[in-house]
Every structure is written in C-alpha cells, then in structure tokens.
C-alpha cells in the first residue's frame, strides 16, 4: 500500500467557548489515497466542516486541533502557521471548493483578475499563461471561455459554482476539498457539476475529498466513504462495502433514510434526535442517544474503529456490537416493513 495522500490520525478538535471547550471532532481517523475520490458524510452538527477546515487552516480563532495528527504526504500539518499553509499547502497542493460558492467570489473583481492573482502568488505562470490556462478550465467546467472577464454578479448560481470549480483545478492540485459543493443547487445543475468532476477524475490524478450530507452523491461519485456522527467516524471503507454491508447502526439507518427514485414506495427510515453537542471530553458513543440498539457499554466508552471482516479491506466500523449487526438489521427490516426490492445485490 502506498502512503496515503492525506491522513487523519485520532484527530480531536475543540472550540473554546465561555461554557468550556466544545468538542467538534473526537478521535477521528481516516485517510485518502492518491487519485481517489473520497466522501465524508454526515448531517449538520456532525463536525464534517470543522474537520476539513482543520486541513487548510480555516478554523475559527477559538478552534484548535487538541490531539492527534493530520498528515499530508507524511508530513504533520496540524500545527502549521498561516504562513506555512500559504507557502506549502494552499492551492499548490490542496485547493478548496466552498459551500457558499454564490458568495465566494469577490464581487468587486473580475473573475479573471481573481485567477491571475492566485497564479501570481502560487506559480510562475505569466499573466497571459494564467489567462490561457483559466480559459481551458472554463471550457472543462462547461463555461464559455470568453466570459472569464465577467464580474461574479453576471453569473448565475450554477455558473459561479463552476467558476469556483475552475479556480480549484487551476494549479493542478493533488487534492481538492469540496465542502457541500452542490447543496444550494437544483438537481440538474448538481448533476452537471458532477459530470465535469467525473471528467476531472478520468483525466487527472487529482484526489478529492467531498463533504456532503447526501449519501447518494457519495455513492455515485466516490470510491471511499467515511460516515461521521457527532464528531466521531462511525464507519469507513469503500462505497461498495458500505453499501452492501453497512455495519454501524448510524450508517445502516442513514442509508435507509435516503429516498431512492427507483423504489418510490419504499418507507424511509427516520432517525430521531440530533447529533449531540459535546462539552469537554467525549467518553461515549456520540450516537448512543439515537441508537435503537444501544447497550450500557455504549455509554461508558467511545467505541474504537475496528475492521469489520477479514474479507473487506479497510472496512472499519466503530460499534461495540459490530458482530451482531446482521441480526439487528433483520430486526429493522421487519420493523420498517422494508421490501426486498430495496436491497439489491444481497
């Protein structure tokens, strides 16, 4: 196995508040291999945005990685200063597609000017070379190249999203972090964006970390997936393994909460409650309050991520009842009256 491109090792991130430290991420581990598209899934409050911010230094001033390591190409980057991040990481190595693409371009500057500025900071490209390259990228993301000199307000929401995607691809980064890149868009627009990202995947070695609440998007576009709940990684592995054999109760339920247009009559699973806000150290499974199968042990310790089976590489789940989940799932099928049609490839 090669060295992972980006690796989180037992990362804990806390925010200092006047009520004490709030733990947004606790003991999270997972990694991204070169050339791979990886999805990080969780609902609001799961800590997924905090986790990605810790990589490129976007944490709020009261937030800090208090334990664990973030390794990029083997080098620890969690303690990098702003200057070091600017020098070594940002855009040269890791670029970023923000959630709020609508407001992420400077309204007072032409889009091309913003691209040229990035190029002048991070590369040796001349202005004309930079513009040439930016035009090519506009074409790749499905925008007309002669619109690079427009102001952001002249673009629609979907077009701004594409321009932001072009900027992320601009300097050939090794990794793109995309934070809910399509949440604000309509389905057709979302699919168009992913069409172009598919193209990137096919034609370059760039890896991507896709942060989203939408498990369908990850199943369709990524190879690896990590499911996050209440700051803990519940389960991680290849999308095929997790689809076929979800093991953590949260992944099992989350997967069944998503509508599948092929089975419009399937009853959707409901997960009661919300991810908890963790004050101080986390000493239990963050899903315990919402879990239908919680036992006493779940309150006493946070379960570690463990391999699920010998046969599935890299498939890990953090649940004390990993071995029993097949039986539990059966119970669920009965409870929810799930039709067999909902479980292809079993």
């Amino acid at each position: 196995m090669t060295e992972p491109l980006l690796e989180f090792r037992d990362v804990t991130i806390q925010y200092q508040t006047n009520r004490g430290p709030v733990t947004a991420v606790s003991g999270a581990s997972f990694s991204i291999e070169p050339g791979e598209f990886s999805g990080l899934v969780g609902e609001s409050g799961s800590g997924k945005s905090t986790l990605v911010k810790s990589v490129i230094g976007g944490l709020d001033s009261n937030g800090e990685v208090t334990a664990g390591k973030i390794l990029y190409k083997g080098e620890e980057i969690q303690d990098y200063t702003e200057e070091e991040l600017n020098e070594k990481i940002r855009w040269k190595e890791i670029s970023y597609i923000p959630q709020s693409s609508m407001n992420s371009l400077d309204p007072l500057q032409r889009v091309s000017e913003q691209a040229v500025e990035i190029a002048s900071v991070h590369s040796d490209l001349s202005k004309s070379e930079a513009l040439e390259r930016f035009k090519e990228l506009f074409e790749i993301v499905g925008l007309s190249p002669d619109r690079i000199d427009d102001y952001p307000h002249q673009f629609s929401g979907g077009m701004q999203q594409r321009a932001i995607t072009a900027l992320a691809l601009f300097l050939d980064p090794a990794l793109i972090i995309a934070d809910e890149p399509t949440t604000a868009l309509d389905v057709i627009m979302q699919d168009q964006i992913f069409k172009y990202l598919d193209r990137v995947k096919a034609n370059t070695d760039t890896s991507m970390l896709l942060i989203t609440h939408d498990i369908s998007v990850v199943f369709e576009s990524c190879e690896q997936i990590a499911v996050l709940h209440g700051g803990q990684v519940c389960e991680s592995g290849s999308v095929e393994d997790i689809y076929r054999n979800p093991t953590h109760p949260y992944s099992i339920l989350l997967q069944r909460a998503f509508p599948d247009i092929r089975y419009p009559d399937r009853k959707l699973e409901i997960i009661e409650g919300h991810p908890p806000e963790q004050l101080g150290e986390v000493t239990e499974c963050s899903f315990v309050e919402r879990c239908p199968w919680a036992v006493d042990a779940c309150y006493e310790n946070a379960p570690p991520l463990e391999n699920v089976s010998e046969s599935e590489q890299n498939h890990q789940s953090a649940c004390f009842r990993n071995d029993e989940t097949h039986a539990l799932k059966g119970e669920l099928t009965e409870l929810a009256g799930l039709t067999d049609g909902g479980e292809p490839n079993e």
């Binding site: 389905v187 979302q190 699919d191 998007v217 199943f219 095929e240 689809y243 509508p259 959707l268 409901i270």
Partner: protein
Amino acid sequence: MEVNPMNETPVLEIRNLEKYFTRKGGFLDSLFGSSKEPIRAVDDVSLALDQNEVQGIIGESGCGKSTLLKTVIGLTDPTGGDIFYKGKPLSEFSKRDWKEFRKNVQIIFQNPFESLDPKFTVRESLIEPLKIHDIEYSEERIHDALDRVQLNPPQKYLDRLPKQLSGGEKQRVSIARAIIVEPDVILADEPVSMLDVSTQAAILRLLSDLTEELGLSMLYISHDLSTVSDICDLIHVMYLGRVVETAPTNQILGQPRHPYSQALIDAIPIPDPFSDRPRTALDGSPPSPEELEAGCRFKDRCPERMPRCDTAPKKVETDPDQFTACHLHYEESDSRPNTEAALQGGNTQ
C-alpha cells in the same frame, strides 16, 4: 359558503392563472426609451385539487412555483385567470368569504428558522391563528395540536421560544399552527428542504398521515422529485412559469413523457454505487424569465428540439391521466391555431 355534498367540485381549483410582474417603468424609462416586457412568473397554470388529494408541483428554483403559491393564498393578486375555492372564484369573494377562505387554506413555509416569530412562545404561536379567526379555544385544543405533530408531551414545548427548538421541531410547530384551525387545504412550500435527511422523512410521513387522518387536501411544492414521490398522488412539473406535464406520481416517475420531466428524473442521484446512472445530458441553465422567446420554453435546452418547437405546444393526454405539453406527442394536424391564448391544457380534471 355551501359545500357540495357529492364532492364533485374540487376544493381548490386554479384556472389559467397568470402572474406577470411588470417592471417599474417610470419617467426615466421613457426617457431612455426602454420599455420592458413583463416577467411571466406564472403563465397559464391550471389545476384542480379534490378533497383529500395531495398534488405536487415540482420545478427548479425560479420556475415560479413559489409565486404560484403566494398567488393562490392571496398574498399577491393574479394578473390573469382565477382561483376557485369550493366552486366560488376568489375574484367574487365577499369579506366573509375571504375570512372563511383564510381559515380553511393554510400555508407552511420552507424555512423553519424564520417560520415562527422569535418573540412568540410555542403556545402564543398556536393561539394566534385561533384569535385571528375568533375561534374559541381551550388548553386541550392546543395540546391536541402538538400531540398530532408528535411533540410529546405538549407541556414540555408550550412555553419554549423558537430558538429553543430544533429545525425539525420548529417545522412541527408550523404544521401544528396550520392544522389547529382545522383547514381543508394545506399549501406546503418545500417544508423539508432545509432539514437534515434524518428529519425529512419524519416530517414527510407526518404530513402524509395528517392529510389522511384529517381528510386534508394539500398542494406540495418542491424542487426534489425524490422526496415527494411518497406523499403526492399527482405531480405537476413546472418549467419557467408553465406546467409542462401532469401525471399520477408513479406514472411520471416510470414513464415521463416531457423531455424536461425526463431530465429532472434522470438527474436525481441514486444511493447505490452499482447503479451506473448516466449524468444529465442537459447543458446550461434555464434562461432568465425576463427574456423569453415564443414557443416552447424548454426548446433551447431540449435534446429533442424540432422546428415546431417555436410554436407553443398544447397539452395532450399522452397516456391515461397523463398530460404533456410537448410537440413530440401529437401530430401537427392536431394543433389548433398557434396563438398562445388558444392553447389550453386539458389538465383540469
């Protein structure tokens, strides 16, 4: 207002509804000689909602679906066509009719975070519609409403302010507020789109159960076909102000006839890594509603574009109960004179 005992009259009917926004042309516009076309946000929309029926209106943002809802509920006046409540047109409403209508037609909005007055407790939010409609109420009625939306026990929630509720709980209170006056019709404007998926299913199921239990009719608006399939009996697909296709839910999901409906369904991601769904074939985004050309509004993005598309298509019954406004589905000889006004859909049944 009399109620037809046979229920043959739809509870709510919209006939050829139009809502055009004229852009403010003042003294200065005439100075610069720029006279502007009105924005046709809702253009010739017709539908009929029977008792205890749930219909969905699906379309991308900007297609006019929210304007349609606001027009139906009387927040803005239509510029053409009419709305009928139990057979009576809104344009002929007396003051009393309006009062009756406003009690019986309730709305639920998209954003749960702004749907409740931040200064009102849950109790006050629930009492307010009763007070406005001069309905006598008891503590029981309020408890009952919270019970129905599964906020248990009610005492726990009554004195909370909205900021002390989660998004899902807020939306439940909004629903309770809507049903507490015992309406006939609920208009729902994407009530789950801002909630987490784990909560979405719960709210959808709640709405579905409530319409069944209380015999409500509902008009449900959404941009997302996948979430409404469970709840709606009939679906209207809307594109740039017009309804392009109307069909029962399973029929439209299984065999969409309009290329736009097809594209909408094809673009929905499938939670299955083995599905191999092809990406959408559509490029670009909808044109601005400010500069619409004659003919079919979808023609510039349509993979099936033909010369005929420059005339407005009429709506034909392509399959039983399925109405589609597309030239693909009827011969030229069928077409009536191609003025837009003459081309009405047959979708009012």
